[in-house]
């Protein structure tokens, strides 16, 4: 993850909040029953967990009767690049309810190659058969390696492959790094 010191801020904190709020509205418009039917936000550990929680809070502000649950998913045991990069489990997966028949919105901070999302889809079906799975990300930085696209995006951000992007509640930062 990029350190915030030598990194350029491309989305300040207030715009991060606004993006989360907009995604929350879009989710409510798009999920089945407009929030009258239960649905689940699943944050991908670790970077997507705060986004799922922020979206849940925002959804509560918009519509206090929306039937939304919030959980987290660790995908490290489903990755296809285990030997290629250091992979350690982040936090133990927390699935708040059965996923059978409910709509699930996966959330992550930065969408890049798509491999994390691929692993997340495999991990998710261990807990049931959702009626649909959507994807919400704060930043889409491009460079996809798999046929995966997000349903809800906070910001599309063109990047170079070697850039480091970090998306936090304090803002989105890019550092033009070279890999060691």
């Amino acid at each position: 993850m990029a350190s915030n010191n030598d990194a350029a801020c491309v989305l300040p904190a207030d715009q991060v909040r606004r993006a989360i709020k907009r995604i929350a509205h879009e989710i409510l418009e798009n999920v089945a029953g407009g929030g009258r039917e239960p649905f689940v936000l699943m944050g991908l550990a670790r970077g997507g967990v705060w986004i799922a929680e922020a979206l849940r809070d925002e959804l509560g502000n918009i519509d206090g009767t929306a039937r939304v649950e919030c959980g987290s998913l660790d995908v490290s045991m489903y990755r296809d690049d285990l030997a290629l990069r250091p992979t350690l489990p982040a936090s133990v997966s927390h699935v708040p309810c059965s996923l059978d028949g409910v709509e699930v919105v996966l959330t992550d901070d930065v969408l890049y190659t798509g491999r994390t999302v691929r692993a997340a889809l495999d991990a998710l079906i261990e807990y049931g058969r959702p009626r649909a799975v959507r994807l919400a990300v704060l930043v889409d930085r491009g460079h996809r390696e798999l046929p995966i696209r997000p349903d809800f995006v906070g910001k599309n951000l063109p990047t170079n492959a070697l850039d480091q992007v970090s998306a936090t509640p304090e803002g989105v930062f890019v550092s033009t790094g070279s890999r060691a």
């Binding site: 660790d74 490290s76 489903y78 285990l82 250091p86 350690l88 133990v92």
Partner: protein, 323 residues
């Protein structure tokens, strides 16, 4: 972490990391389908030159839960009986594409030798009286989770009782418990302490423990009673005068059980010699407020071994590598 030979090779962060990863494996094992695809391209071969029930099956179950292929080598039904050397056996199996050897042998240091003979990763499943690292990890995991303590056992008092001399479990478990902050007292007759203790004025280097010869001095104060198995198959000398006398001095008797603190726990690495280490009905422990963790040790063994196998491949990271 490329191999797991001894817990002495891991620092505190490395041990804590393996225990935290085991928390994930507990979650996996609690699912309707307790299996993840993490090691689906790997082959794990258990290479056991000594008898074992729980360790071998526990490792093989762990490998299967991670979707690895498993191979089982048992010396008694192999070409070892035709005179094949150990080195040739390892070379042959390595040539079949084994990624991990899980090794148990009566000779201390053999798992380390295998790391030099081939490219496969090696996990020590018990070598002589040297180390049994996954037992140490599963003991630390079971105890800390049962007490709700995370990776911190500071202030916990443990009495480890019995045949320390022949015990690789003692060496690994003492290390793991010590690293998490527990204080361990070894309780044994002098004949069952390692040779380095005999006649030494202080506790030998490398043993972060106190020593006692009298279990009754401690039994009322400890949080954990860890009983070791009397390893009768290794006792070529007269280490104890009789099983009955051993039991009277060092076994868990009714009188000692009655003195144990409420909320304390009993642990044993198995297999147990009923009537020697434990001379009470285990079902009566609860009546005295003592929790029996022995079954949980076995259950957690799978999660901890999954954590070790996963970490061999998952973490190319220095964070978990004390070496």
């Amino acid at each position: 972490m490329k191999h797991l030979i001894s817990l002495d090779d891991l620092d505190a962060a490395g041990i804590a990391g393996l225990l935290s990863t085991a928390d994930h494996m507990v979650e996996v094992l609690g699912r309707p389908q307790p299996k993840v695809p993490a090691l689906r391209t790997k082959t794990v071969c258990s290479l056991f030159f000594e008898d074992s029930t729980r360790t071998r099956l526990s490792f093989e179950t762990a490998a299967k839960r991670l979707s690895a292929e498993t191979l089982t080598f048992t010396a008694s039904s192999s070409s070892v009986n035709k005179g094949e050397s150990l080195r040739d056996t390892v070379d042959t199996l390595a040539a079949m594409g084994v990624d991990v050897f899980v090794v148990r042998h009566k000779t201390a240091g053999l798992p380390l030798s295998i790391t030099r003979w081939c490219d496969a990763r090696v996990v020590n499943a018990g070598d002589g009286a040297h180390q049994h690292p996954t037992q140490g990890l599963l003991d630390a995991f079971t105890l800390s989770r049962a007490l709700g303590r995370g990776n911190d056992l500071s202030g916990i008092r443990v009495a480890m009782v019995g045949d320390i001399r022949h015990s690789r479990v003692a060496r690994s478990t003492v290390r793991a418990l010590h690293v998490l902050g527990a204080s361990v007292t070894l309780v044994a007759p002098a004949s069952l302490l390692p040779a380095a203790f005999v006649g030494a004025p202080t506790v030998p280097a490398g043993w972060p423990v106190e020593v006692s010869h009298n279990l009754d001095d401690l039994i009322g104060d400890i949080d954990v009673l860890y009983l070791l198995r009397m390893q009768r198959e290794r006792m070529d000398n007269a280490f104890i005068s009789s099983p009955g006398e051993y039991s009277a001095h060092f076994g868990l008797t009714k009188a000692r059980l009655a003195r144990m603190k409420k909320g304390s726990v009993l642990m044993h690495p198995g297999p147990m010699n009923h009537g020697i280490e434990v001379a009470v009905d285990l079902d009566t422990l609860a009546d005295h407020g003592v929790t029996n963790l022995i079954t949980r040790q076995v259950t957690n063994g799978i999660a901890v071994r999954m954590s070790v196998l996963f970490t061999l491949f998952g973490a190319g990271s220095e964070a978990i590598d004390g070496q």
